[in-house]
Symmetry: C2
Subunit: 194 residues, 2 copies
Amino acid sequence: MADVSITATSKPRAAASGQASSEAAPTAGEPYFDLIELLFFAYRDFVGDPDEVLAKLGFGRAHHRVLHFVNRNPGMKVADLLDILKITKQSLGRVLKQLIDEGYVVQKEGARDRRQRLLYVSPAGEALAMKLAALQTARISRVLAELGPGGREAARRFLAGMIEAEDRDHVLRLIARADSLVERERASARDDNP
Amino acid sequence: MADVSITATSKPRAAASGQASSEAAPTAGEPYFDLIELLFFAYRDFVGDPDEVLAKLGFGRAHHRVLHFVNRNPGMKVADLLDILKITKQSLGRVLKQLIDEGYVVQKEGARDRRQRLLYVSPAGEALAMKLAALQTARISRVLAELGPGGREAARRFLAGMIEAEDRDHVLRLIARADSLVERERASARDDNP
DNA sequence: GCCATTAGGTCAGGTATGTTGACATATTTC
DNA sequence: GAAATATGTCAACATACCTGACCTAATGGC
């Protein structure tokens, strides 16, 4: 990003302290412009790293989301994915088909319910998903190292709070369950006694 | 979001503690899946509030971004906006034209350089921009109230750290400068002695 | 066993937002 | 006067969404 020089009304002043001038809390309805804009820029760079890798494979952000959640929730149903991503079946169908055709995702018929097409990542799919997660983790790690102890918990609480109240518990459960799911998958890969 | 029940490998276990099981720090390259996913869900809900309002006006997220930055940086050049949004002139042209045609943004010829078309929000544009910012601020306010003192600064440091290092200083300057710009605009609207 | 429901897939067509590339016009700068 | 700059525009295209309609196969209630 080049310098953005506002020419019309710009006059020399205390501009550019480097750290956005802080702690003038938006008491009477003053918008939190700083956090609004930081969230915009932070999110863009956060998804930017994976985007570059994906573009080389002919994939986009939509493929990333599908691959990510399937990797995190092996054996999930198509309907679960639709629910998490909040997109339509048709939209999911297109990207899912590409991921399957190119061997990153596989479907298995449900054992109890044979209508279901349970979703799993292939070894290549897991490798890609983990590569993308590693890129994002690297960015996060750098930040948390700068923030020191408590930074992770603070970030987590802020972000969790930003989630729509109605969905928040579901999301937190999803994250917790996925953690234990992946752990269980690994255990049963080492040793067939989950 | 409905319940997402993973049927294939799911067995009863310590799932769903409500608060994602914490503080098992990703030491040896363990991805920060929790923060990755929280960022995804938080951002989606963060932009979701404005999206609803915008949809009723026939606008999309692209219009929001343009309107937001013009509101925050009155008198900015088209080139500045291209630089912030990192999109092409043609993409910007389409949404900018709509915002101008519908009276939310106005252009004025630059005084020093008459090639420039400096961008300003109209009163209607400012009202809309502030309405959208208020929605996002309401969400943020609720979170910060839950987090207690220091929450805002922690969130700001986390988000600022997530921005690409190369751009970070520019963004922080942009935010700081916009704060003082808006303040100055208001002062000169009250009293013609900036 | 019949039938409604469910899980999933697919066709057809439309919108929003982005892209490249090529030009055009006015203005400033050297 | 020529080169560079700020902006706008035309044309064509790609992606990622959407709505609506319709299909198959399997399940489950009765």
